[in-house]
């Protein structure tokens, strides 16, 4: 129970769809979703594979709680070798798609090979088939969604798709489901595009069962109460979304600004969660219409926005006048503070385009920010940008280039490489704010020390969602630590990394951990799944997953030397705010972290560690 015990293997080269029983031995060791799919992936794929070659695989995986009534239990993840990073990629998404896939009777889908012609996968409960997508190719996620629902006359079909970005090989292309929920990072959409897989459409009506229903209902109800009564999950997130953080992080001097040249943005109040709720002077309506929940979520942090019809960017584009996914904190940071732009409507438009065409707004915004610094430093000029005045703060550059990037046109082609390749191309690699090729997000490690270690050691490249120490260092969850000192952070990072791996493997949303500890999550998993799901076992599962991912990366060619931050963060002190004068103390934290992990000084797990974890 919990699992459907069935996976779908789709060979795109051959055009076949075959069911297989889920490997329950692995399920007991890796739980589901992120962990279990990574196990499948590592067992089946050569780590040195070119991410865009047919030999790479792409796995859509749900967790044992996905589709149940536990709060937030609608998640799925996409596991592959990342196009942007060359590292193991695991991108997690909400919306309704994951629960629908589970309801159709599948724990995961493994895609192999490359289709000779564009296709999409249609799943109607146990029936799965590949259908030609020739007339969908070249279309946006939104058009694809509408077309597939129309062609099958089923408005209940849930759809995950790539847009033009994924087709055009934009290296940070993502996979978008339910129009504006995304498996966002590491270029999983580019891998999908390389396989000529346009979309996955699912209708599931079979239902999901749990091992001990009575206990499950009781414990999930009790835990929902904790979410409702918590200030962050009960009030902050529903009211402001993740955008609740914009002013907070700016205050503490950890808001990377203008490609992380600065750590505070004077325009932050104009692009914050609070600003999204303010009536606009033009039409008297706020940018934000309402909040929205994903499947089963009792937090409902999602933003739904409507762009000001009179704004230059949509004045003649009525198709963008309707409500759609609004700015989340990371997106608002990347396309706002990091680019020095404070035009909320232009940013919302760019966000719509990222959703519509399937691009990760963090990587896109951060890459644009790097390009702006290249431009301002003279490394590139208008010849390269196609005449665009790429100064920091230029909102029109944002709205023009977001379209060009998705379509692979003009300077957008360069931006589609991601910031590391872009900066290398123009001879200024140090201007790329990336780790392992992935752009870091909205927390400056000079002002939040733990995030430096988080970015440096994240298995999928720089990311906040692998060990969100912001919770402790800024919000005091589970207890307050000083963001300005490195002490104690290695243990914090390790603990968060392992716990996060469990959450990401369960079907639950990481945002629950603002209110829940693993102690709250464990009994929900235990009631849903047969077998031993004690806290000790879950912690071991989390650590096992982390080390499995690490091993894949080491075999893929990464070394300890890749656990490094951009030079700016460790050598250019913060210019203002509480962290003024500080750099990130990664060098102090990393050796201690390796030791805590049971890795040698090169960051390689020792034989003893591997044995302890059964790897």
């Amino acid at each position: 129970m919990g699992w459907q015990r069935r996976i779908l293997r789709v060979n795109l080269t051959e055009g076949t769809c075959n069911p297989e029983p889920l490997n329950m031995d692995w399920a007991r060791q890796y739980l589901g979703q992120r962990g279990l799919a990574t196990k499948y992936f590592v067992e089946e794929v050569d780590p040195t594979v070119d991410p865009l070659s047919p030999d790479n695989k792409l796995i859509f995986a749900t967790g044992p709680l996905t589709g149940t009534a536990a709060s937030t239990a609608g998640r799925y993840s996409v596991i592959t070798k990342g196009a942007l990073t060359g590292a193991i990629a695991c991108s997690n998404s909400g919306g309704y798609f994951g629960a629908e896939l589970k309801n159709a009777g599948w724990d995961m889908i493994v895609f192999e090979g490359r289709a000779p012609e564009p296709v999409y996968l249609l799943i109607e409960d146990e029936e799965a088939r590949l259908l030609p997508a020739g007339d969908l190719w070249g279309r946006s996620v939104w058009e694809t969604h509408e077309r597939i629902q129309h062609d099958h006359q089923d408005p209940m079909l849930k759809i995950a798709a790539i847009g033009q970005a994924g087709e055009n090989g934009v290296l940070f292309a993502c996979i978008v489901n339910d129009l504006h929920r995304a498996a966002g990072r590491s270029g999983v959409g580019a891998v999908m595009g390389s396989k000529r897989l346009k979309a996955v459409a699912v209708r599931g009506t079979q239902g999901v069962s749990v091992a001990d229903p009575r206990r499950f209902l009781q414990v999930t109800m009790e835990k929902k109460r904790i979410l409702a009564e918590n200030a962050v999950t009960g009030q902050g997130l529903p009211t402001y979304g993740t955008q609740v953080l914009m002013n907070v992080v700016n205050e503490i001097g950890a808001l990377p600004t203008r490609n992380a040249r600065e750590v505070q943005f004077e325009g932050a109040p104009r692009i914050s969660g609070e600003a999204m709720r303010e009536p606009r002077p033009t039409d008297g309506k706020p940018n934000l219409i309402t909040n929205q929940a994903c499947f089963g979520c009792t937090i409902a942090c999602g933003r739904v926005s409507r762009i000001d019809k009179t704004h230059y960017v949509v004045r003649n584009k009525p198709q963008y006048w309707k409500a759609s996914g609004g700015l989340e904190y990371e997106n608002a940071w990347a396309m706002g503070a990091d680019t020095g732009i404070d035009d909320l409507e232009a940013m919302t438009y760019a966000n719509f385009i990222c959703n519509e065409q399937g691009m990760d707004p963090i990587s896109f915004g951060a890459t644009l920010a790097a390009a702006m610094e290249l431009y301002e430093s003279g490394a590139i000029g208008k010849e390269e940008t196609g005449g665009i005045d790429l100064r920091f703060g230029n909102a029109e550059a944002l709205t023009t280039l977001v379209e060009q990037t998705a379509r692979g046109e003009g300077f957008g082609r360069d931006l589609g490489l991601g910031s590391r390749r872009l900066c290398e191309k123009y001879g200024r690699p140090e201007l790329s704010m990336t780790v392992k090729g992935q752009e870091f997000p909205a927390y400056d490690p000079r002002g939040i020390q733990g995030m430096g270690l988080t970015y440096a050691t994240s298995n999928r490249g720089a990311c906040h969602l692998r060990s969100y120490t912001v919770a402790s260092e800024v919000l005091g969850i589970p207890e307050k630590t000083d963001p300005l000192v490195p002490d104690g952070k290695p243990a914090l990072v390790k603990a968060f990394q392992d716990a996060t791996a469990v959450v990401d493997s369960s079907g639950l949303c990481l945002f629950t951990t603002f209110a829940w500890s693993l102690d709250d999550i464990q009994p929900q998993i235990d009631a849903a799944c047969e077998g031993d799901w004690s806290l000790e076992n879950l912690l071991a599962v989390g650590e096992r997953i982390w080390n499995l991912e690490r091993q894949f990366n080491l075999r893929a060619g990464f070394t300890g030397a890749d656990d490094r931050l951009p030079e700016r963060l460790v050598s250019e002190p913060a210019r203002q705010g509480p962290a003024k004068g500080l750099t990130n103390q990664l060098d102090k934290m990393l050796p201690e972290y390796y030791a805590l992990r049971g890795w040698d000084e090169n960051g390689v797990p020792t034989a003893e560690t591997l044995q302890r974890l059964g790897l």
Binding site: A69, S71, T205, G207, M221, Q292, S324
Partner: protein
């Protein structure tokens, strides 16, 4: 006093907990496709509308039933399907103008909201108060208010 479900779409976030609760209560499995309540998502208008049987006074389903398989539970006022009598003729599914009686192919019977015998799971699981189970008089009031609000938004919706 009889109670009734009160539904306030403005408070709905589209989380589907009601559908999960309903399907579990009636089918023992989490399966929105088997829920007696359904949340309609009007994406472009950013509106989520939970929708189920209002236990209407006309009781089209009940009167249309050829074998008296739909009867009123006197304790709750709910029109309930008696599985042992239902022959699966589906006349109620076309007679109910609200579309809230549905045929279940698996059992060969129709299914509809029965207010869970007086403790509706959808209301219990709704995290935002969009669905509540309250004195029937109150819902008449709320319904009027919703109706009034709707006349205001109608112009916008069609614009």
């Amino acid at each position: 006093m009889l109670k009734a479900l009160s539904i306030l779409p403005d408070k709905c976030t589209g989380c589907m907990q009601c559908e999960l609760a309903c399907s579990y209560e009636h089918e023992g499995v989490f399966n929105p496709a088997r829920s007696r309540i359904r949340v309609f998502h009007f994406h472009d208008e950013a509106r989520y509308v939970p929708y189920t049987c209002t236990q209407c006074a006309e009781a089209w389903c009940q009167t249309a039933c050829p074998v008296e398989a739909i009867q009123v539970n006197p304790a709750t006022g709910a029109k309930e399907v008696l599985d042992n009598l239902c022959v699966g003729c589906k006349v109620c599914t076309i007679a109910c103008p609200f579309g809230t009686v549905n045929y279940n192919q698996a059992t060969g019977k129709v299914i509809k909201c029965d207010l869970c015998g007086g403790d509706p799971a959808c209301a219990r699981y709704c995290p935002t108060g969009a669905i509540t189970y309250v004195d029937a008089d109150l819902t008449a009031y709320e319904r009027m208010r919703t109706w009034a609000a709707r006349t205001d938004t109608q112009a916008q919706a069609t614009a």
